[in-house]
Symmetry: C2
């Protein structure tokens, strides 16, 4: 077999890059999270994995609410900064020049410059070891008006990026369309 064992590694491609936000000690704070994804369809939920000691987690637990903000490629510097500094020492909102807005939940700060924002209420906090998996019920989804096309979110305007862990920790843009989903696979039906 042409496979090599790497041990037990949390290795998948691609990983997203979210800015997870909460009010901590009454101030908005954001952290970068690459470990997360949609967790449920109805009601819509999302999960994010966060280390126990993270400052943002304190705010999530205090408010039982948080936001998931999807940054665009233009914000890669700010996103990385939010991942390598702690809000316990630094006012990231100020340093990064983030514009904060609030939606339905008064205690959930969101980032105006991020094209997509999910406002979430904590549904579950699962202690898995080094991290807790925070599962949030999405109360409302926001999109920047400039990122719509025919009333729908447009990935070309959102310009999301992903995180790839190996071979060198890096951020990569989303590339060209390679196929239509729920469609290209139909070509194999001739083999049935």
């Amino acid at each position: 077999m042409s496979k090599v064992m790497l041990g037990s590694q949390p290795l998948v491609y691609p990983m997203p890059l979210f800015l997870v936000g909460a009010k901590v000690d009454d101030k908005p704070n954001f952290m970068a999270v690459a470990w997360g994804g949609i967790a449920n369809g109805d009601p819509p939920m999302i999960s994010v994995a966060i280390r126990h000691a993270r400052y943002t987690l304190k705010g999530i637990k205090d408010n039982m609410a948080f936001s998931v903000n999807v940054p665009s490629s233009d914000m890669v510097k700010e996103t990385d900064y939010c991942g390598i500094t702690s809000g316990s020492k630094i006012d990231k909102v100020n340093i990064c020049g983030l514009k904060i807005f609030y939606g339905k939940l008064s205690n959930v700060p969101m980032i105006e410059q991020c094209p997509v924002n999910l406002e979430c209420e904590v549904a579950h906090i699962l202690d898995l070891g080094s991290h807790v998996l925070v599962v949030g019920k999405i109360a409302e989804t926001y999109i920047s008006e400039t990122c719509l096309i025919d009333g729908k979110p447009d990935v070309q305007k959102i310009k999301p990026f992903c995180y790839t862990m190996t071979p060198a920790n890096q951020y990569q843009s989303i590339g060209e369309v390679i196929a239509k989903a729920f469609s290209v696979g139909k070509e194999l039906r001739t083999r049935e």
Copy 2:
């Protein structure tokens, strides 16, 4: 504010595209999952959201084990096919020409053509509504020998792709490197 409310939507960018596998009724079966991500660091865990009625879920529950296979762009047709058909009616392994291998866990089928394979034991099954969130402890991680560079997994060779839900359900490749992670943000330290 220049934001538009979309209601409560499970909208993030990018979403991964995993082929989740299990033995169902003693035969290997795989389904496409875009809702999932790494859930814990130590021990390494991954979560995937699966609709209650899915055939693969039966196998996951019966064996309390499953695999997460990361397909390359070359496999977009097969991946989509695994997402639009049910293993209760079709032998996807045969139709897609998947080569199956087994690792440490004798009951967890994995796909040889997928560059990255995670072999998982179920740690939690969380009923969230329309879906269950299956959290798996990663027992072993496999990589195709041809996808290594200097002994490390190489994203250029793995050629992963992602799923973007809007504006048109589609698969997109991973694009160019836009910045070095845990590094580019340091430029903002001059503002502290």
